[in-house]
């Protein structure tokens, strides 16, 4: 028998081992839900799968009686639109700021301290300010997401830009490159996969800001819905919504990872 340290799971058992905890959690939930519902059929805390399925099919497959909208899809569309817009703005701003401060020492000296201070402001504390300035519409929610994750992305890209070996920059200059050419052909392409990594890492924070903004002032959105139905203790809606948000987050993350592998096959292959 090999030492535990050296035991490797096979491909198949690796998948199985990964699914095992999930299956266990599901099982525990189902048993607990069954027990509670057996004791009290009106219990709202741990709805059964059938109850949750009913609630979601009501919201996703039937038009709302008052507005005629399919609430689930409207919520999903609104939330994704806000999140993606906010993240896109943050990624663009972060890339430009990070590239400039990371590659041009004069820029870095001018803006790095400011960037550090800005990144320390808790974005949620700014939410009232955003509501006052931009009103309660879409803009303030998108702005919160953008403001919340831009400093993180900018600082990450700045650090990545500084990590690119100086030999490459010297080499480009000995081939005749000027500052702009070095930035566009040497630094920028190498920063793109790192930008995707930074976006993946900041998506969690993005969801946090989105749901917070929607909970406080909104008329639709996944976060809005969860906080709305909380008043009726509608766990049969909340649990599927949370699961749906998790699934969306997972798909976004995997999509970005796939893009990164596909577009930048040289990324993460060690220093050359």
């Amino acid at each position: 028998m090999k030492r535990l340290l050296n035991l490797q799971p096979s491909r198949f058992s690796r998948v199985l081992l990964g699914l095992l905890p999930l299956a266990l959690i599901l099982l525990v939930y189902l048993v607990a839900s069954d027990l509670r519902l057996a004791a009290n059929p009106d219990d709202k805390l741990l709805p059964s799968l059938a109850q949750m399925g009913d609630a979601i099919s009501r919201m996703a497959l039937e038009p709302n009686r008052r507005t005629g909208e399919y609430i689930f899809w409207v919520d999903t569309f609104s939330s994704l639109q806000r999140l993606l817009l906010g993240v896109l703005i943050a990624a663009s701003l972060g890339l430009v700021i990070g590239l400039l401060t990371g590659s041009l020492p004069l820029f870095g000296a001018g803006f790095s301290p400011l960037l550090t201070i800005l990144s320390l402001i808790p974005p949620l504390a700014l939410l009232p300010v955003l509501f006052i300035v931009f009103g309660l519409g879409e803009l303030s929610k998108v702005a919160l997401i953008a403001i919340g994750i831009t400093p993180f992305i900018a600082r990450d890209i700045q650090r990545r830009a500084q990590e690119i070996p100086v030999e490459q920059l010297i080499k480009a200059q000995t081939l005749g490159a000027n500052t702009l050419q070095v930035m566009i052909r040497v630094l920028l392409p190498q920063l793109m996969p790192r930008l995707l990594d930074a976006v993946r890492l900041s998506l969690g924070a993005g969801w946090l800001f989105l749901i917070a903004a929607e909970a406080i002032a909104s008329t639709d959105g996944l976060g809005y819905r969860i906080f709305l139905v909380r008043r009726y203790m509608a766990m049969d809606v909340i649990i599927p919504y949370v699961a749906w948000i998790t699934l969306l987050a997972f798909v976004l993350d995997q999509l970005l990872a796939w893009f990164s592998r596909r577009l930048y096959p040289w990324h993460g292959k060690g220093g050359v």
Binding site: E167, K171, G176, A177, W266
Partner: protein, 259 residues
């Protein structure tokens, strides 16, 4: 073409190079050897323009060398010398793209086809004709250095600087690389400066050997004096005894104090 006049380099109190006065003709192949920390790499950086002399002058055709890298001086480092995000062909074509006064450093149309032709010809010459579409991380160390050399050559530098280019390679591959560098040096009529750890490499490759070592030594203050060029030999005419003498010189324990 290149002349150093009483060159000094200090970092704070630490003197790295002192009183260096040499001149080099066009077409010479100079190898720089010495113990680590003896200043040979610093001298190369002065040539490259990433460091400036504390005192004295370094002249290229009578003009002080520019204090930033430019296309007069090509360089091959031991590593990180090629762009990891470009294929082999793109790496070499980038030399043409950067040579044009464009804003972005990308080539289009006719200029692109021309650069592609020139790059492919050179890549075939250095033995990378079969690897045009590969990325640097897919190449072996020796192939990567061939690529770095091809890239530097396409920019047509007046001086080619090699900073321990073969330090990380196996001996067999190193011999192939020596062959390649000598061929390219002759066919492109380059002036080459090569820093190397390996004294034998310096002794048999090239036309001129410089040994960097301290001329004066103060045991109480090892940084008080810098290194100078202790041997300046035409390589063709030197013999085994000189090699052994230099070897013995460089092995003296006093030199081990250095970083």
């Amino acid at each position: 073409m290149l002349e150093a006049r009483n060159l000094w380099k200090r970092y704070g109190d630490k003197v790295v190079l002192e009183r260096i006065s040499v001149s080099v003709q066009e077409g010479e192949f100079v190898t720089l050897v010495g113990t680590s920390g003896c200043g040979k790499s610093t001298f190369l950086k002065l040539l490259l323009g990433t460091e400036t002399a504390s005192e004295g002058q370094l002249l290229l055709d009578g003009q002080p060398v520019r204090d930033e890298p430019d296309s007069d001086r090509g360089i091959v480092f031991q590593q990180y010398s090629v762009f990891p995000h470009m294929t082999v062909l793109d790496n070499v074509m980038a030399a043409r793209a950067f040579a044009r006064r464009g804003l972005t450093g990308y080539l289009f149309g006719q200029a692109r086809r021309e650069a592609q032709g020139a790059a492919m010809e050179l890549l075939h010459k250095v033995g990378l004709g079969h690897a045009l579409k590969l990325y640097p991380h897919q190449l072996s160390g020796g192939m990567r250095q061939r690529l770095a050399i091809a890239q530097a050559l396409l920019a047509k530098p007046r001086i080619l600087l090699l900073d321990e280019p073969f330090g990380a390679l196996d001996p067999g591959i190193r011999a192939d690389m020596h062959q390649l560098v000598l061929e390219l040096w002759q066919s492109h009529q380059l002036t080459v400066f090569m820093v190397t750890h390996d004294l034998k490499e310096g002794f048999y490759l090239g036309t001129r050997l410089w040994v960097f070592d301290k001329l004066r030594h103060d045991p109480q203050a090892p940084d008080a004096y810098g290194a100078g060029i202790t041997y300046d030999l035409p390589v063709g005419k030197s013999d085994r005894q000189t090699l052994q003498a230099i070897q013995a010189d460089l092995k003296e324990p006093q030199h081990d104090i250095q970083n």
